[in-house]
Amino acid sequence: MIQLSREPVAQALLGARGIAKRFGPVEVLRGIDLELRPGRILTLMGENGAGKSTMFRILAGQLQPSAGELTLNGESLRLASPHAAHAHGIHLVPQEPLLLPELTVAETMFLGRLPMTGAIFRHVDWKDVRRRAQAVLRMLDLDIDIDSCAKTLSLAQLQLVECAKALLHDCRIILFDEPTSPLTSHEVDNLFVIMRRLAADGCTLSFISHRTEEVLEISDDIAVLRDGRLVDSAERGSFDRARLLSTMVGRTLRDIPRRESSYVTEQTVLEVDGLASEPSFRRIGFQLRRGEILGLAGLVGAGRTEIAETIFGVRRPTAGSVRLAGETVTSKPCHDLIRKGLVYVPEDRARHGAVLSMTIAQNVTSGLLERVRQSAGLLSDADETRLGATAVRDFRVRCAGLDQPLRELSGGNQQKVVFSKWIATGPKVAILDEPTRGVDVGSKEEIYELIEAMARDGMAVLVISSETEELVRLCDRVLSLYEGELVAELTGDQINPAAVSASYLGSAHAEGAP
C-alpha cells in the first residue's frame, strides 16, 4: 500500500444542485443534481454532446454554471477559476492531454504548483520537483523519463502523466474526463488499480467513460446524462449493460452483430509489400480489395498509425512499396495520393484532422475546394453551404448552425465533421484511424453503417481500431500487429472478440499466423 498523502485525507463531498449551462442559444445542461461522495467512484455516462465534459468543467472551475450551485461538505461553493478549484482540492484530468511541448515531463506534472523553497528568494525547488515526479511515476509503474521534453511523448504517455499529476497534488476530489480511451488494456488496469486505491483512501472520484464494461467494473455509482439532462442515477448494483445502453441512447440497443453481407470483389486497389519504417514497423504486406473492409488490430503503439502514415506519404518508409490501383505510389506526397483517391482520417483531430477555429461548412469543404464552384478564384458561399448542409444531415452532426466554429462542438460531433470532409472527396481507398474514438454508442452505429455503405459503393476501407467489438462488427478480414509486425490474419468465423483480442496481445502468436 502506498502512502498517497502525508496526512490522513480529509473527506470531501462535492454536490451539484440544479446546475444548468447555456452557450448562446444552445442549452447544454439542464437542472443537473449530482453527489460525489468520499471513498466512491461516480461515473458519468452519456452520448457525445450529452454534457458530461461540460459538467466536469463546471466542477473544475473552468466554466461558470448559468444556474444552480455547487456545494462542498454541505457549504455553498463558488469556483471562479481552475485555481479556486485546485485550492479546494479538485483536480480535473482532461480528455485531450494538453501539451506543453518544450517543458520537461517533471515540470509538466507540477504545472501551476511548483514547489518553492528559500526564505528570502523564493525559488523553484528543482530537486524536490524531480524527486517527487520520479516517485509518483514509479508508484504508477510508468517507464517515462522525467527529463524528456513533453513533445517527445505519445498521446498515451501524456494521458498517463496527467493521471500521475492528479496523484501528485494530493487532491481529494479527482475528475477523470474519459482517461481510458487512448490507453491499452494493461494501462487501463493500472489506472483502475490506482483509482480504487485512491477511493479506499477516502478520495472522491468521478469518471467519464463510453465503455460500458469498464464502467460496470470500476463504478460505485453511475449517473447517465442525455441531451443535457440527468436521466438515470443509481448505485452500480442496479445497472447492467442493457440498462446502461438503453438509458444512454433512449432506446433499446440490439447486440452488436457481425455484418452479414460482404461486398468484397476480386479487384485489388491497394497493395502493400514489405513495407517498413524503422523502428516503428517492418515487413508489412497485405492487399486491399474493392469493397473490402480490412481491420488493423493491435495495442496502442503496435505501429498501426505509423503504417497508415507511411502509406499516406506522411512518414518515410525505410523499405517496401505501396501500389494504389496498380500504380506505385511509395512515398508520394499526400496531396498527390488524395488526388489519386486515397484518404486518411487521422486519430487525433486536434492535431491533424481539423481546423477547430473554422466553421463546420469550411471544414467540410477544405478537402474538396476544387468542387466548390469558383468564380474569378473566389469560392461560392452557396456551394460551401450546400456541401456543409449535406454533411451535417448525413452524419447527424449536432450543431447550432453551419457557421458554428468546430471548436464549439462536442468531440464526437467534431469527429463526424472531419470524417465527412474526407468521405465527401469520394476516394477509392479510405484509411480510418480510430473512426469512433470519443464517439458515443448511438453515433457509432451510424458511422458503422456509413462505413458499410462506403464498401457497398466499391470503396476499399482500412480500419484501425483499438476496440475489438468495432472490428468484429465491421471487418471482412482482420490483420493483427504486435510490436510492428504482422502476427495474425483472421477471416470469417475467426473474427470474434476473443480471437481478435488474443491475436494481438502477444500471447497467441501461433493462432492463424500468416
Partner: protein, 330 residues
Amino acid sequence: MSAVAMPSRRRAIAPRFTMTRELTLVAVTVGLTITVGLLNHDFVGAQNLRFMLLNSVVLSLVALGQTLVIAMRGIDLSVAPILGLAAMVCGLLAQTHGLSLAAALPLALCIGLVLGTINGVLVATMDIPPIVVTLGTYSLYSGLTFIYSDGTQVDAVSPTFAAFGNGHLLDVVPIPTPVVVLLVILALCWYVLRHTGFGRAVLAIGNNASAAYAAGLPVTWVRIRVYALSGMLAAFAGLMFLCYTGSATVTAGTGDHIELQSIAVSLIGGTAIAGGRGNLIGTVLGSLFLSVVLTALVFLHVPPIWYSAGEGLMILAAVQAGFGRRGARA
C-alpha cells in the same frame, strides 16, 4: 505489477541544459572578430572592442524584455518608443530642471511600468493579439515623445549621466559600468525565468496558454507583468542610452528599429518564436554578435547604403543556422 512498456519511447532530442547555442554564438562572434581583425588591426584594438561591447548594452537590455515576451508567445513592438520616451523625458528634465540621475532612474522605471502595463492590460484582458496592441501603442508612444519634446532635443545633460554611461564601476577592474549593470540584470532575469514561479508560468503560457490556465496559473496577471517588465527594461535601456550617448532625439530607439533588432537577437539567441522556450544568455550574446556585425561593416568599408541589407542577411543566416540545428520537426 510489471512496468508498462512504452513502445514509442524516445529520448529528448537535445539534453535540456546544454549550452550548444551559447557556445556557437561565442565561437561565431569571436571568429568574426578575429577575421575582421586580421583585415583591419584597429578592429581588435582595446578601444573598438570596448565600443562594440558598450554598443550592445542598450539593445541587450531591450532584448531581455523582448525575450521574456516572446517566450510567453507574445511580441512587443512598442519597446522602441518606450525607450525613446523615457530617454526624452529624463533627458529634458535633466537638461532644463537639473533632474539628478538618482531621480531619473525611478522616473524612467515608472514610465516603462505604466506604458508596459497598458500593453499588458490590452493584451491580457481584452484578448487583442499582442502584435496589434503593440503596433498601436508603438505609434501612440512615439507620438507622446513628439508631443512632449515639442521639437526640442537633448544634447547637454549633466556629467553624472555621462560618467554612468561611459565610466567604470570599479577603478581596479576596467569593466564599463553599463556592462556590469547588464550582467546583473541578465543574472536577475535568468534567475526569474528559470527558478521562480513567475518565470515558469511565463514558459508554461508560451507552451500552451489554455493548459496554463487550466492548471490554475494566473495567466492574465502573468501576461500583464511580463509586458510591464518589458516596458521597464526598455525604459531603463532608454536611460542607459541617454547616459551613454548624452543625447536624445525624437527618433531614439525607433530610428534604429530597436524593436525589430530585439526580436532578431532573441531568435538568434535560441528563443522560440512560437513561445515556450527562452534563452536570455543567448539573447545577450546575440546582441553582441549584432554589434560586432554592424561595426565590422564599417571597418570593412562597406558603403553605408549596404548596412541595413548586410545586417538583415546576417540575421537571417544566424536564425536559419539555429533552426537548422534543431532538425526537422515531424
